[in-house]
Symmetry: C2
Subunit: 360 residues, 2 copies
């Protein structure tokens, strides 16, 4: 059987007739190495096809130059775009990004965190999973590893430790900061738009009520109703999941059970919107003639080549980029965690899925 050993710095040193440390100097093109020696070493590196062992380097440097991005659903185009932003911000600083898909599963998140800590990851960007109540996030916050909480924060019922540690609004210590979109504003803008069109019975189909995004988008909805002096009907606010399935089910349920029917629906993300669309479609309820539909986030271009949904868009790329930058500054100085949360702006795009209600 062929030898499995990889070429080491010692092999190169022997071949170039120098000490290992000299090879190291050439590789890291540092300090004074005579042109002649350098050439000899470089030749040896070429000939032996030497690749430095990053494990040994990291062990010595006490730094891996790797950060991880833990996202909840890599198939969502929103997250692939965020990922691109993170990668671009990090590659400028020669930091490598490991992308891990938690698939909205707490065990996966916990496994990854554990694995990454073992592998001495320099820092983490974490999108917590729905309804998270695992233990690793707490461990993580207890560690000195810099963290950026992305998009969502956890809202735990009761005053758990995690809540305190994770909320972090205005907090001045700890090893993390938060980068997220202005969900409250987004919910407000969408609702206000519908109210201004004349809608009075507006249904909010949100995601998980264990996630800040789910709660805050509903909060913005309520704020707008308040502003217009409309009492919010509890029947018209539903929490579920941020999935197509959930959007579909809640919409069907609404169609069957809520009378009079709302004249507009507001969904808390793109997947929910698609589910709602399918349900409305199946029941021959026309958008916007019979019901208006507005949503957070764009539908993927593939599923929806000609966008027609009125939407609040988050700038996914910028959000990723900011998160990457912030984590890198934490890497350099953990105290930077004290800095304010980064709250990304959102903007309303009005398209043809929203119109005045028929009755008005």
């Amino acid at each position: 059987m062929a030898s499995k050993k990889r070429t080491t710095i010692r092999d190169v040193a022997r071949r170039a007739q120098v000490a290992p440390i000299t090879v190291s100097r050439v590789v890291n093109n540092a300090e004074y190495v005579s042109a002649e020696t350098r050439q000899r070493v470089e030749a040896a590196i070429q000939e032996l096809n030497y690749i430095p062992n990053a494990l040994a380097q990291s062990l010595r440097y006490q730094k891996t130059n790797m950060i991880a991005l833990l996202v909840s659903d890599i198939t969502n185009p929103f997250w692939t775009t965020v990922t691109r932003g993170v990668e671009d911000a990090c590659s400028l600083q020669n930091v490598n990004v490991i992308v891990c898909n938690t698939d909205e599963k707490q065990e996966k998140l916990d496994n990854y965190i554990n694995l990454l800590l073992q592998r001495q990851i320099d820092g983490l960007i974490v999108v917590p999973t729905e309804g998270y109540n695992g233990t690793m996030l707490e461990n993580l916050f207890a560690s000195h590893v810099p963290i950026v909480m992305l998009d969502r924060t956890l809202k735990v019922k009761g005053k758990g430790k995690i809540k305190e540690k994770i909320k972090g609004k205005g907090k001045r210590k700890g090893n993390h900061t938060v980068v997220r979109s202005d969900s409250v504003l987004g919910g407000y803008l969408l609702t206000k738009h519908l109210l201004e069109l004349g809608h009075r019975r507006i249904m909010m189909i949100s995601g998980s009520n264990t996630l800040s995004t789910g709660l805050e988008r509903a909060e913005g909805y309520r704020n707008a109703l308040d502003e217009f002096g409309i009492a919010s009907d509890p029947e018209l606010i539903r929490f579920g999941k941020f999935t197509q399935q959930s959007g579909y089910e809640i919409t069907v349920d609404m169609i069957q059970h809520i009378h009079p029917r709302p004249t507009a629906i507001l969904t808390a993300n793109n997947f929910i919107a698609v589910g709602a669309q399918i349900a409305l479609d199946e029941h021959q309820i026309a958008i916007p003639n019979d019901i208006s539909l507005a949503t957070f986030d764009e539908i993927s271009a593939q599923m929806n080549p000609r966008p027609f949904l009125t939407t609040v868009v988050q700038n996914a790329y910028s959000m990723g980029y900011e998160a990457g930058q912030r984590l890198i500054s934490l890497l350099k100085d953990l105290d930077a965690a004290a800095a304010e949360d980064i709250i990304m702006p959102v903007s309303l795009i009005i398209r043809t899925s929203t119109a005045p209600p028929r009755s008005s």
Copy 2:
């Protein structure tokens, strides 16, 4: 600023009043450690929240227990399913999988390979990118790192080294094997189905002609035509990319320029099919009344809740699982690379997108 140092085995040893090696024994629950000592050490581990440094372990073991999966497009549900198969096969053996998305870009593939080799990855599962002509794959084959080439092999024009090394059919040495679907058979089955329905002008829209999958699916198509004694019209075979865009463009081009129009289209993957569908739709060409459409791979459930396309399906999950298993056996014994390529079966699912041609 808070200390960034993580807890080491030495800290634990000090606390538990034992030697570091004893802590190591407890952690790896190996050999004889007295119950009393073990308890003391475990307590110290708990109290200090000790996490072993996998970098140091890997350096010592000369093994990382990590393999990487380099896929061409993580947004394609085919590849997410393959990924799940790889992960399941590997997790049974306590091997961790790093998933990297090359996005069909050669530079990304080369970067990842380089990075992963530096990080001493134990083995790789690689889906080469379209039109690859980089250098890292060659380096990789020159190394002793076990590799599984997945789904596609590279076809380089002329007899390049890479070609020889990668084709590997029946070869008895080297550090890799190939796991792929039976593309020739798939192309044959789809075409035969259309021929049996009475179609005689069948257009094949394939992907890249630098990839085995693109070429072999067209080969199966030609085989079936041969069998039915039909001369293949070069105008009716088109290579492009495995993308929706490419499928769309080629279909539009066909609609505008090819007369008489083919009565059936065969697309080499799901994305091409979606592009073709959209183009046909835009030109009010009905499926299957005006033209039949058959394809490789399923369309994602999201885009297509009620499947109606006649399809050759590859078992993506099994393919991933087999690839994972094969790589793990290579890890244990590189000579296993000598084993035969694994060629996964495909099967034809007939739905409503194919029907006899109108003229017949």
